[in-house]
Amino acid sequence: MPGDSQSSPMSDKTVQSSSVVGMPSLAANGDIAAAAAIALLGAVVLSLRPGLPFAVRAAIVVPLVLFVPGYVIVGALFPAEKGVQTARMEPSLVERFGLALGLSIFVVPLIGVVVDALLSLTLVPVLDTIAAVTIAAGLIALVRRTRLPTAEQFHTTRAIRSAFSGARERPLTQLFLIGAVLLSVVAIGASGVVATTGDGDAVTEFYLTTEGPDGGQVMATAETIGNDSTQQLTVENPADPVGEYTIVARTGVVADGDVTDRRTVGQTTVTLDRNGTATTTYDLELDRGERPIVLTYLLYEDEPANTPTRENAVRWLRVRIE
């Protein structure tokens, strides 16, 4: 028969008390109380936005969105414990977890859709409604649980205790397991921190814009690049604020598919601002009459090379002038 590890036989003592139906106790229904508390906490704290650190907000939001509403709804739908003879079709602890997850990510956005239809999709009414739904489902779960004999009522603590039964056997292996799990958690956490705290690869962007039809700087297109001879050069590297770069402008004559007679026609040094951006303009006033020529902008970190070439520049751009 399919089953779950929680399905342990009931003791005689439990059976004797199974017919007792009374008021809900906090100890037996702590799961519902905790769920309601998280929902209320979420509604209040997240609505007030008291500038909580991200980790704290995440610690509230993740269970609130992924687990809490669904858990109490499952509790309301299935108030009995799995494994008790009269309620063998009740979901196991694992099944409750999975269903809680699925129902939560259904209920939360559904509430959002309803709130959007009535008001607008803003956070406060959504959180308030999630709390209201959670508490209402929790009350239904409490009522349905208390209508069952005590031994048949679902108890999270009992289910968890059952899942960990036998944990005290062989203390050495148990100790090894706990140590391994802790090490694993630390490794995963450290890996997460490493993966999320990096600024990513430093990217140095170097690009040329001209004044577009609307007056703004645009990356030149076939239509815009010929309309103005003033070219704006931008260097961006957010990872390197106040970094210094040198731009060297060189020309060369295109002849027989090759570029000859290369000359340096200008050089300027730029310093990135705090956002890691620097711009400079270059007025295209070429005194050489050969055509077509190639105008090349070479970007260097700090000082340029003695003989500037594309190969020793960190970035380079090119404009062909017919």
């Binding site: 399919p2 089953g3 099944e95 397991l177 890996s191 040329l208 690049i225």
Partner: protein, 639 residues
């Protein structure tokens, strides 16, 4: 074992199924001479051999049917679990230090997966702790997915850019769903609403919100697969089904490329849990409510997911109605057909008011099906989109050896699925619920492989895999159970050991499960971008005039330009051996990876050099060391 009665069938049901399997194998076998497609080459012999293995097991004289169960390894489950947890921790460190899911990471993940499967398959009953093993499965699933998510700048995949940077961003900006009133997700907004609500609650970007909500929900939903298995057979096999599901390539895919399909998969699992309860006899209103709720949730999330769910519920209803024909378990559970009709009504109702291509979704779907039937369909008409999607097996001239390695996990899974699919119909195994999963696995396979064989790709078969893996994982567990019971312990253990060693590693390297960093990165498209590539998109967005003509770059890079609203973008086209466009965006990937470009009238993967794309006579206006933007010379006057 000789059946004394076959009900209304002339032979035992499992023999009828195995006969059908052998017939399919024999009929499809000659296709290998007409098409070189890998699946056509491999599937017929694989199905045939699996059927023969089933027959060998069925007619084997089993002296000790529970011999395997009675063997004792004596291994402490907690020691095995502890070692595996250490492996999972190591895996996370490898991912962080390598900066992503590199080959060493995938190798370690395969080893850890094998360790988990070995525990499930070989530990003694007393040593097998459900909670411990399930925790390992979930931990591995989370580490695998989050290594991909956290080490990849931006988003993974293509559609994720649309759903987050377009739809969810618009909803968040307007505080209203009216922001997506004109798109088909107007009637399926749950994904976008969830992401927006979480982002607002966290005060975080949509990407972070997506990862902390659905990014976690996807691996944790493996518990639902366990729940299905637990309703059908013993814990060991439920764990095996859950582990196979969590490690499967396409399931991992939707855990890193998080879009409504991903969320639909969770609801699909939830519906199947509830439906299984129903069919197994829990006919209380709460079970009906549960299956109805998850069904509606699926319909409100994703159209294809809802369609797949309808197919499975339809299969379940048909199996239930036809089940009395079989000489098997005739226990009455709750009927699925009312649920199927309800879900059909909900889906059709929603689709009829869903805007799609200047019409509604139902009308457009019918028109598309008609169009496909009249224009594209034909036997072995594989010219349409490859069933495995863009960049898939048929996208270019991928060596068949690499294709085989890439699909090895699926083939290993399919082998045990065939075994289990037949074993389900043995009289003492059969129930409407198990029968439903076996038939559903077969029907979904037909939708995924059969229809594309005829050029019918309207139902986007690439999206069906992950859903198909649910019944496949269940039935595969059944296949392993059959092997253990029908073969000698030595034979069974050898076979299962091979499965445990091959499946996790082979699934891990499949390109669909590694969209952000495929192992064979010159054969399969990489659907992620580094910081330089994303910086270029952002700068182009800021500096490109609204009136500018489209830029040209490779697929999938062009999709990021389009879907982030940076600028219109088309695929690079090679015509007469040349690439001639006004404005092109070159990235190093075009020379080193598997970029897709237009070659004549069709798209295919082709590496191109920077000088081919950014020709010498063009202006070179942008460079960040990896990406270069070039434009034509027209308009320069040099004044």
């Amino acid at each position: 074992m000789v059946e004394s009665s076959y009900g209304r069938l002339p032979v035992a049901p499992d023999l009828a199924i195995v006969g059908l399997g052998l017939l399919i194998a024999v009929v499809l076998f000659p296709l290998r001479f007409l098409s070189g497609q890998l699946f056509i080459q491999v599937l017929p012999p694989l199905i045939g051999v699996a059927c023969l293995v089933y027959l060998a097991g069925r007619y084997r004289n089993v002296a000790d049917p529970i011999g395997f169960d009675r063997r004792r390894l004596g291994t402490d489950g907690r020691v095995a679990a502890g070692l595996t947890f250490l492996g999972i921790g190591t895996l996370a460190l490898v991912g962080a230090t390598q900066g992503g899911r590199t080959l060493p990471f995938l190798a370690v993940s395969g080893l850890v997966g094998s360790a988990i499967l070995a525990q499930i398959l070989f530990l003694d009953d007393e040593a097998l702790g459900v909670g411990l093993v399930l925790t390992q499965v979930l931990a591995l699933a989370i580490v695998v997915r989050f290594t991909a998510l956290l080490t990849t700048p931006g988003l993974v995949g293509v559609d994720s850019w649309t759903h987050l940077t377009e739809y969810a961003t618009a909803i968040r900006a307007e505080d209203s769903l009216s922001a997506i009133a004109g798109v088909k997700y107007r009637t399926a907004p749950l994904f976008h609403v969830l992401v927006v609500v979480v982002a607002d609650a966290l005060g975080a970007p949509l990407r972070t919100a997506t990862y902390l909500s659905l990014g976690l929900a996807l691996p944790l939903a493996t518990t639902l697969c366990y729940a299905i298995g637990n309703a059908l057979f013993e814990e060991r096999w439920a764990l095996l089904a859950a582990a196979i599901f969590a490690m499967s390539d396409h399931v991992v895919r939707w855990g890193v490329h998080i879009i409504p399909t991903s969320m639909g998969l969770v609801f699909f699992l939830g519906t199947l849990v509830a439906a299984t309860r129903l069919v197994n006899g829990d006919t209380r209103w709460s079970s009906y409510l549960l299956v109805g709720a998850f069904g509606v949730a699926t319909a409100l999330t994703h159209q294809i997911s809802a369609f797949i769910l309808l197919v499975v519920l339809g299969v379940g209803s048909a199996v239930q109605l036809l089940w009395p024909l079989l000489p098997t378990d005739t226990r009455r559970g709750g009927w699925l057909w009312p649920v199927f009709l309800l879900e059909t009504g909900v889906v059709l109702g929603l689709w009829s008011v869903t805007p799609y291509h200047d019409s509604n979704f139902v009308a457009e779907l019918v028109a598309t099906v008609e169009r496909t039937l009249t224009t594209s369909v034909g036997f072995l008409n594989l010219a349409g989109p490859d069933p495995t999607g863009p960049g898939g097996a048929a996208a270019g001239a991928t060596p068949i050896g690499i294709e085989f390695l890439d699909a090895l996990g699926f083939f290993a899974l399919l082998f045990v699925v065939v075994l289990g699919g037949v074993a389900v119909f043995r009289r003492h195994n059969a129930s409407p619920a198990t029968g439903t999963y076996a038939v559903a696995a077969g029907v979904l396979t037909v939708f995924t492989f059969g229809l594309p064989l005829f050029g019918f790709n309207t139902f986007l078969p690439g999206r069906w895999y992950a859903f198909m893996y649910v019944p496949m994982a269940i039935v595969a567990a059944f296949g392993c159970r059959f092997a253990i019971r029908q073969f000698s312990p030595r034979t069974a253990m050898t076979g299962l050991l091979v499965l445990a060693l091959v499946l996790p590693g082979a699934m891990a390297i499949n390109h669909k499960g590694t969209p952000e960093n495929p192992v064979f990165d010159e054969e399969y498209v990489t659907y992620s971008y580094d910081d330089a590539e994303l910086a270029a998109v952002e700068t182009v967005r800021e500096t490109r005039p609204d009136s500018a003509d489209p830029i040209y770059t490779d697929h999938p890079y062009r999709t990021v330009f389009e879907r982030t609203g940076a600028t219109p973008a088309n695929m690079l086209a090679i015509e007469d051996g040349e690439i001639v466009h006004d404005t092109v965006v070159y990235r190093q990937y075009q020379s080193q990876g598997a970029p897709v470009v237009m070659i004549g009238n069709t798209s295919g993967k082709r590496q191109v050099s920077m000088n081919e794309v950014c020709r010498r006579e063009m202006h070179r206006l942008y460079s960040d060391g990896e990406v270069v933007v070039c434009t034509g010379i027209d308009g320069i006057d040099g004044a």
